[in-house]
Subunit: 207 residues, 4 copies
């Protein structure tokens, strides 16, 4: 905690605790997704366990999808904060916006699972992902603009690649939104493209 | 962990783990807010999804409001502990009180959302915010009084500004309490003033 | 992370991650207590909000009581691990036992709240606290016995005081168990004694 | 945070934040297990509290069993990451897979508890444990293969012992799966063998 011992104390914000809060909210949100899988009506319905589990398959798919998308966002958060050295008031609020929509994911996943096949339910899910993607793009752009919150020697290629990568998820979300009107039962499958596209050389980060 | 290796071991309390516990409780409480948005009666009611979501709008507003207020308190916690170097028994208990009312927020938000428009429901929410605000004020005053838990060279201006800023939230909560008797449906909107007032030069922290 | 870079890698356990897991489980358990306060029957019952809240008072008391008791245990964990330098297989399992009963607290609190006034419900709560207290006593005794996991120069007074302090909670829990048979509605009030007794000079830690 | 200050910034992943996310998800998943113990039908059934608690015994056993198995996996995670120095894209995704099935444990435990005695319910639980065990084996094998992510001087004995230990849980899960067809009420008891086998000299790690 070098910032604690340095010079005259002032009201400041550090990236260290933003990362701690973000890790916490990501972890909890990813784990709360499982609550959408509880089978509260098991004892009321006349269905057998195998029928109940079979009925739940769309929910299992949504659980895995949301978990993987949150994991991808978490990795991006991780990568962005690896080079972000400082923070300021606006940057903190962009991050609080990010965390608000991360925490909303269990709700959106629930809606998409309970109303599987309804256009509106898919749009709720898509909107959540779209907003998250755009906020991450904003977070990166704001931090890198004139090297506001990053090191002065951060190279242009890393910055541009970060912007390009951050456009993948909102782009796929837009496609999914369009599909929701035509094939609502399958619109979310398109998100499988997110990790695939990010492996293409044009979008891939440096290993 | 320099405190681990220093001199004779004694029963001591460190600010490091208070911060860890606080980050955890803030993160969980902020994420549990989303549970107030579950739509358990979806399958029972005859309403369509769009009607259900429309009905939920007060809850979405409350979710966002509680999330933002908790984020503001988290930032204050962050800023206060940035200059608080030590802790003692009383200070630990003030902080446990803070965390107890942070953890209560999902309940208060739930009450305010389920009973939107009832004076008493708003007062429950206002009381939670008011108590949190006063405890944060107490936390700061207790730590700074005669530089009890802060560095001796912490300047008077920072201390006074911290007190002034800490009065904003309880003040707005008092206004909201008064409004709850007259316009219960809108009393919580006044909390939008909290971040606005804190941007005024008189209350703004040093960037 | 000095343990990462030191010499030949081996399978080892560090106190650092035990503390991280413990902080997480304490924070979550303390926050999940609030779920015992949800009012799911609000819309079904014919009661007004003020009546519902009035009915919930025993639950609010239990919420605050469990939160404070968990906070006290967290402080003890904090103090014990401040001097515990190493860990071993048995010590890890004592700690997993501790965390299992920490995580059980929301359930015990729920039972004591839903069945307020029933002897058995209070005994469930008391048993949880009793077991936690005894495991903390065991944790301390095991670590300090022949200075197994603590520094060799840890003085006898600190060790003895730690044992004495660790007996307060199980002792109070035993009294509460006895009272549960006679005044089940009030048996839990006796836990207010825990922080009071720990302030007596005979039990107080060094500030 | 040495990686923050070193040379030219690039998009990289660090083991530090994977550990932070893992600690969070393990802690939350272990604590959410308790939600399978809530007694929502208490007020509806005509049963007394003692009867309700007696009925819950299989659930208490499952709670303790899942908690202990997750704790064992957490210790393995801890031990593996103690020697894993780097990470790469594939390794991150193996870990996200691990965390997805850790977060799924409250659901599997719930199913095994609500449908105690049904072969399919036990198989769900067994499958979750089996997949987790195999992913941990893969995690270790992937990291150690040609010393990909570990120190070059990590000795062969540690690597082989890690593989051998990682086979215990999938092996026991396979036995439990077989038993689920014959004695579904008792199939899960076999997991008590996991910590026992790991204490045998052939599987024991170095203390």
């Amino acid at each position: 905690m070098p910032e604690k011992s340095s010079g005259k104390p002032r009201f400041v914000l550090t990236t260290r605790r933003i990362e701690a809060l973000a890790d916490g909210i990501f972890a909890i949100s990813m784990t709360l997704l499982v609550l959408s899988l509880t089978l509260p009506d098991m004892l009321e319905t006349k269905l057998s366990l195998s029928q109940l589990l079979a009925e739940q398959w769309p929910k299992f798919f949504n659980y895995a999808l949301s978990f993987v998308l949150l994991a991808i966002f978490w990795i991006v958060h991780h990568q962005q904060f690896h080079v972000i050295r400082r923070t300021d008031r606006i940057h903190v609020w962009i991050n609080i916006g990010i965390l608000m929509f991360v925490a909303l994911m269990p709700f959106s996943t629930d809606v998409a699972g309970d109303y599987s096949g309804e256009t509106l339910a898919e749009l709720v899910f898509d909107a959540n992902i779209m907003i998250l993607g755009l906020l991450f793009l904003l977070n990166w752009w704001y931090a890198c603009w004139r090297h506001r919150l990053v090191d002065l020697d951060l190279d242009r290629e890393t910055i541009v690649k970060g912007i390009r990568r951050s456009c993948v998820t909102p782009g796929v979300a837009a496609v999914s939104m369009a599909l929701a009107f035509f094939i609502p039962h399958w619109g979310l499958v398109v998100y499988i493209l997110v990790p695939v596209i990010q492996l293409l050389p044009w979008f891939r980060d440096i290993d």
